[in-house]
Amino acid sequence: MPDGVGRPLLKVNNVYVSFGALQALLGVSLEIYPGEIFAIIGPNGAGKTTLINVISGVYHPSPGEVFFEGKERTFMPPHHVAALGIARTFQNVALFKGMTTLDNLMVGRHLQMRSGLFASGVYWGWGQKEEIAHRKVVEDVIDFLEIEAIRKAPAGMLPYGLQKRVELGRALAAEPKLLLLDEPMAGMNLEEKEDIARFILDANEERGTTICLIEHDMGVVMDISDRILVLDYGRKIAEGAPEEIRSNPEVIKAYLGAHGKK
């Protein structure tokens, strides 16, 4: 996949975020190019989730800038960010627990649909056609993730591993240009991790989705990522291809240091 070639899809420029006295991000910059799988790694508390939150508009940096497809959107509220074509999953599963798997994925289609109150309420003609058309898109995602059997099960009743998968499906259903995954494999066993890794690679290759993920499992990250960014105490300490990261002395120090303290 392209490495530093062409125009970046997302550009984060010198971003600072602080919560009171706590400095979460200190001048982090990054560029993500169309079609790549970009990983953010780092010890606990390094600011990875904060960075994702800045990209998806939950937090706004001060100072710092965020560009998407060349346009500045630093202070956009999250629901406008979503409309640009950015979808994400959460570290702690954030499914709509009272809704079925199918409805969760259909919510993912929200921005692609147009029906207002009356088209929905009458449910005849155009409004119905739209529902069916989008149901088809969602069913493709359901096939892709192999979750046909739980289509009509309430999401809150599903086991953890499946919930993570449904959440991935909800993000994929939006057909985003950029997909942010916050620890998509946390708490999974080896088999489940392999499934998710396969889905991520397939989504990237077959659907052409650009992916930015946070993950703790180094093996997986090294295997599937095109480029990796390493954060430590809110600073970028390294960025590059997996081989470069593996041998970077700063990175080794940060990880050994963090583990050494335990």
Binding site: T49, N53, F90
Partner: protein
């Protein structure tokens, strides 16, 4: 002093004294909210039940025995609520718990009136109503008694939460349920104690309110005034409840006295809510409440 200014001052002082009553009811809400995260809509009906029970006992037996009996009733009630309502609903969304306390409110109102009757009652605490002329303003001795008792109760509560072991444990529970469990404070016991304290607050509020305005079902509705008090003071702040009550008491009295005649009166009922809406627009977590930062 000009006539209007004196009138305004008189309105303010009588309003502050009523406001202290609001503070007392609001305090019951805050205590339960702090310890269990439950917004107890039934606090007003607990106050009504306590007042009604006291009013019906006090005509037959001496005041101090009546108080002990009512205390026993409130303690049993606290235990029952913990056992029957809170325990099955643990870990459910706050909205559900809130709605459950609306159920408790209806049940208690039915129970209180079912046992002691629907007729309005007077509540005699054995104190003749007298008014004193203080610098041209009239102040009743009931108001002064109310202020003194409320003051004592507030000091006692602050002392309990700051100085005693149980009180500190309860504060720990309010700050972090899981941490409290980790250091060995049984959550359910803490909830039971908190509801019992809220019951005691209800007795004091009920006795004072009841002796001022009589005991009837509308007492529970009057207690709804505590809700805007909470919005203004912040739902998790004891000083906020007290100051909020005073602000509301004075403000509604001033509004009724000064603006009321121009618009046909009756604005006292909703003015506190209007004030609360304004505060909500400016400071959604109240003047003294903690802002909650949501983690993603």
């Amino acid at each position: 002093m000009s006539e209007t200014l004196l009138f305004a001052l008189e309105l303010t002082i009588s309003g502050l004294l009523v406001g202290l009553m609001y503070s007392l009811v609001a305090l019951g809400f805050v205590l339960i909210y702090k310890a269990s995260g439950v917004f107890n809509f039934a606090q007003g009906d607990m106050t009504f039940l306590a007042a009604l029970a006291l009013a019906s006992f006090v005509v037959k037996i001496p005041l101090w025995i009546s108080l002990i009996v009512v205390l026993a009733i409130m303690l049993i009630l606290a235990m029952a609520v913990e056992r029957i309502v809170l325990k099955p609903l643990v870990a459910r969304p706050p909205l559900v718990l809130f709605m459950a306390t609306i159920g408790v409110a209806f049940f208690l109102q039915g129970l209180a009136q079912g046992i002691w009757g629907t007729q309005p009652r007077g509540l005699e605490l054995g104190l003749a109503d007298q008014t004193y002329d203080v610098a041209g303003m009239f102040i009743s001795n009931m108001d002064i008694l109310g202020a003194v008792v409320a003051g004592i109760l507030l000091i006692a509560l602050v002392w309990f939460f700051q100085k005693t072991k149980t009180g500190r444990a309860l504060r720990a529970v309010s700050d972090d349920h899981e941490a409290a469990l980790a250091v060995g404070i049984p959550l359910r016991k803490a909830w039971g104690i908190t509801w019992a304290i809220a019951g005691i607050v209800a007795i004091v509020a009920g006795a004072l309110w009841g002796s001022r305005v009589g005991v009837q079902a509308s007492l529970a509705l009057l207690a709804l005034k505590a809700l805007p008090v909470l919005i203004i003071g912040g739902i998790d702040s004891i000083p906020g409840a007290i100051l909020g009550g005073l602000i509301i008491g004075a403000a509604e009295n001033l509004a009724e006295g000064l603006i009321g005649p121009a618009v046909g009166g009756g604005i006292k009922n909703f003015f506190p809510y209007l004030l609360a809406l304004i505060v909500l627009a400016v400071r959604p977590y109240g003047l003294f409440g903690r802002e909650i930062i949501e983690r993603v």
